[in-house]
Subunit: 310 residues, 4 copies
Amino acid sequence: MKQDLTDLREKLQALLSEQHMQYQQGKVADYIPALAEVNPALMGVAIATIDGQIIGAGQDKTPFSIQSISKIFGLVMAMNRIGDSLWQRINMEPSGQPFNSIIQLEWEKGIPRNPMINAGALLIADVLASHFSSSKLAFLSFMRQLAGSEAVQIDRNVYQSELAHGNRNAALAYLMKSFGNIDAEIPSVLSHYFTQCSVTMSCQQLARSLLFLANKGKDPYTNSNICSAKDAHRINAILSTSGMYDQSGEFAFSVGLPAKSGVGGGVIAVVPSFGVICAWSPPLNPYGNSVVGINLITDIAETLGLSIYH
Amino acid sequence: MKQDLTDLREKLQALLSEQHMQYQQGKVADYIPALAEVNPALMGVAIATIDGQIIGAGQDKTPFSIQSISKIFGLVMAMNRIGDSLWQRINMEPSGQPFNSIIQLEWEKGIPRNPMINAGALLIADVLASHFSSSKLAFLSFMRQLAGSEAVQIDRNVYQSELAHGNRNAALAYLMKSFGNIDAEIPSVLSHYFTQCSVTMSCQQLARSLLFLANKGKDPYTNSNICSAKDAHRINAILSTSGMYDQSGEFAFSVGLPAKSGVGGGVIAVVPSFGVICAWSPPLNPYGNSVVGINLITDIAETLGLSIYH
Amino acid sequence: MKQDLTDLREKLQALLSEQHMQYQQGKVADYIPALAEVNPALMGVAIATIDGQIIGAGQDKTPFSIQSISKIFGLVMAMNRIGDSLWQRINMEPSGQPFNSIIQLEWEKGIPRNPMINAGALLIADVLASHFSSSKLAFLSFMRQLAGSEAVQIDRNVYQSELAHGNRNAALAYLMKSFGNIDAEIPSVLSHYFTQCSVTMSCQQLARSLLFLANKGKDPYTNSNICSAKDAHRINAILSTSGMYDQSGEFAFSVGLPAKSGVGGGVIAVVPSFGVICAWSPPLNPYGNSVVGINLITDIAETLGLSIYH
Amino acid sequence: MKQDLTDLREKLQALLSEQHMQYQQGKVADYIPALAEVNPALMGVAIATIDGQIIGAGQDKTPFSIQSISKIFGLVMAMNRIGDSLWQRINMEPSGQPFNSIIQLEWEKGIPRNPMINAGALLIADVLASHFSSSKLAFLSFMRQLAGSEAVQIDRNVYQSELAHGNRNAALAYLMKSFGNIDAEIPSVLSHYFTQCSVTMSCQQLARSLLFLANKGKDPYTNSNICSAKDAHRINAILSTSGMYDQSGEFAFSVGLPAKSGVGGGVIAVVPSFGVICAWSPPLNPYGNSVVGINLITDIAETLGLSIYH
């Protein structure tokens, strides 16, 4: 599906202009002070294709807090590290519950519903903290490799803020531990988890770093296999059913792409055999998804006819 | 994606042979006597393509009780009849709960999570019972049109059996009515719902009748628009996140196709821009999905590389 | 504990006067039109003692809809009829859930938590409908016997209104039936249940009719055994933990008497070895308990030192 | 109700003999090694009366782990310390859920249902840890005062064992903290809580130490007011609806006394205006209550006619 992206760049710019005032429909995440300070009017969008092109518009090179988008990368690392034994400790079903709910975790005896809810990401954090000598460094190194840039950073301010407001995540982790489904000490698990969430990247970096999901597991820039084709498939499936919090069904219904959002305002969408779209705008809708981010990806998917359900 | 299906017919036969004994891993639905009597060793498979070809193997022309597969057809009729106002009364999110659970319905104040769980299908039944002078005849007529056959029937024995064991569905319906989300009288709603479930069709008929979902809403046999392209997309999205009961996530993870199963042992899978697969074998796994049906569709999807997540 | 109630009559009048305006703190039940029409300013109170005295103040002889207070009488009839086998179909634990919740009933597989929540009372109604040739007549006859008056009536207007708004109770009943815990047809069960609720009695009649609970099962007026001493004990225990909806714990905490309320505005409290208090005022607090009814019983219990927890 | 307890002593011995083999119906708590090691055949019983008599049988002077019986004492200290403001942070309704459930705590936004479930006791522990310079010493000192003995101890072995297996309690505490309902640091809260649970006392000591609840708040040995008469009433009310875990309703139904059990095998029952019974035998029924403990108290209450519901 090789195509010239020159026209697309102008199109992106036009779509972004249309969203100019829409960010005011949302509300910047304020559960931690570090996120609440972000300028709500910033927005950016980028598209990376598996043939190596990358275009963008707006603040597409400005780093932002990737937050829950990091759950994808943690999952890849854990799948690579312990293989299918992972799925004995975590499920891959959509949850039908708020992303940070503790009720379902209790019902299902400490087995998280999927890796995209907080309980699941904490379990993944436990796998990494237990299997790497320094899981935080390993994670950062993995992100830099995928983004092709040493500029990928941890925002210490965000990290400290997360840690100071992490009581619910601690509750989820201790509950799983009470069921015997966490190996490491909880402070290590939380420290890894909040480190992941505190990585900052730009739209361009994120779009590029996820190309392997659109390319059967292979990074088109380095030709290295980031994961197996089968696992790329599986991750896209999980993103399709569970990537957009409690709006995942609606996003599939109206857009039709594997996607993941973060409360920092980023949204990524994978277009199999084509590329990755990343949009960013801090204000969130009531589900915790970026208002403008969803609008932009909806417009792009419709304009280019990218849905996987047609 | 025009292709010659001659080779495929042999392949289907081979895959079916491999499943010869696998049905013994499952258990025929026994919540109603009429279903429990079916010969568990029967099995069939058919593939219909949007260019008008149709192939099959085994008992691919034997009618069976379509059960919950009928939820797709009821949904199409309701979407056509009342348009987007439907989505004020029902959601499109995966449920994360057993298909006949009443708990989530109470939490969400009588708004069903999606049209593929029982509560959702009962709400659809209410829409149809309220908007057609004879919704049951209209449904049967719609099914015959799609299957291109007047031979599609209601199994009265199954219908009576369902009605006699329909207390849980009655509870769901009365609960929705207590929230003001059901218009018709409950006995009419249940009568429509159990009529839908009691339709019998063969693998060939089902595969053909759902081609519009793989073909942007258009029936390739008659060139008539069964629904809009947008609604075909939406239904495929719902089937992808919610079509396989509480195994929907796993099915997406391992197969990657919009699909729907019924406790009669049928499973259908939509392959956008290609066609529809229907497999049938009565014994079910603990999720209520046909053991052999899932195996066959998994094999076919893998053999032909049909997943939408690659 | 023989005592002269002359002084008490004046005390009652004084307490009632203090409550003169307090009914405005509550809201008359409006889920059915027939109850919403009641004059909110009416109020009455009566005390009957096991030595045969009875005093009252205000509208203590005005009949009102006893509603859920009827659950006590239904329970007595069912205990007398089928003995301890009743407790295989219903529990005696407090519920910790709203009185008409369907969630706990699902969790506990159709076994109601106790006879004072709606699900439990519907199960009792099933026992009666299944074991009496005419359970509604039997119930009315039982009430007239206990009240010592043929004037006890069914309010047909309330009955029809209940029936027309009984969808949630129908849902509870069908759910229990789906678990095999209801024998009779649901319409019979609901008809009995709503008949019970639609009985009208005055404060004086209610207080007198429940004296057996304060008197080890024996009606002091007739010296007949209404139930065994053991069962009187058991019913008082159930009323103590579960009689005041989701305010039962608070009522025990602050008053300390076995009690039962109804959405008609009545509240009864049993004082073992002394007598029964009945207060009535239609406006309800958010828990569904009469504001003035609770105030009056609280004052009387404190004034006379009646709590069972001292 | 002054009476000679000489005959009663023989009666106690006889009742105990009847229970000789009954402990085999239960199972010693094994969630921590320190409790699992206790000799299951030990049993004791004591009755202390408000007129200063105390009798017992069996191992009535052997110290055992009081576990959840400590919740009563913590509650008294917290009520005395912060008064009625306590009830803005905790409710007094029965829970209808397992004692260590996290689901209800989430539903009710971090407000525990009552002080007898674990979440409630952890909240009480937070009050004490936040309001005493050394809450653990204060607690131990309070226990020694009530028991009239400096021999009351903390079992360090049990304490360490609890701490090592305290993940679920940590989850409850962090969840409450996420709702802003815990002030102190979680490790301090847990440390206080497990210290409380690890106190060891004998039947005689426990019976004597709780006499103030049967005596309108006053310790009959010292004539000091341990709490107000009103608060003694309130605590008895809470024990009546919520003291015996998920068997509280049944205990009220069949015995009819305010009571509290612990997984160490102790059970105490308050008889207002008479005294306190304490029975001990380690093996527990499925609800976590001592099999023999319940049997003994049931027999004594029946023999002496002690129920508050008659």
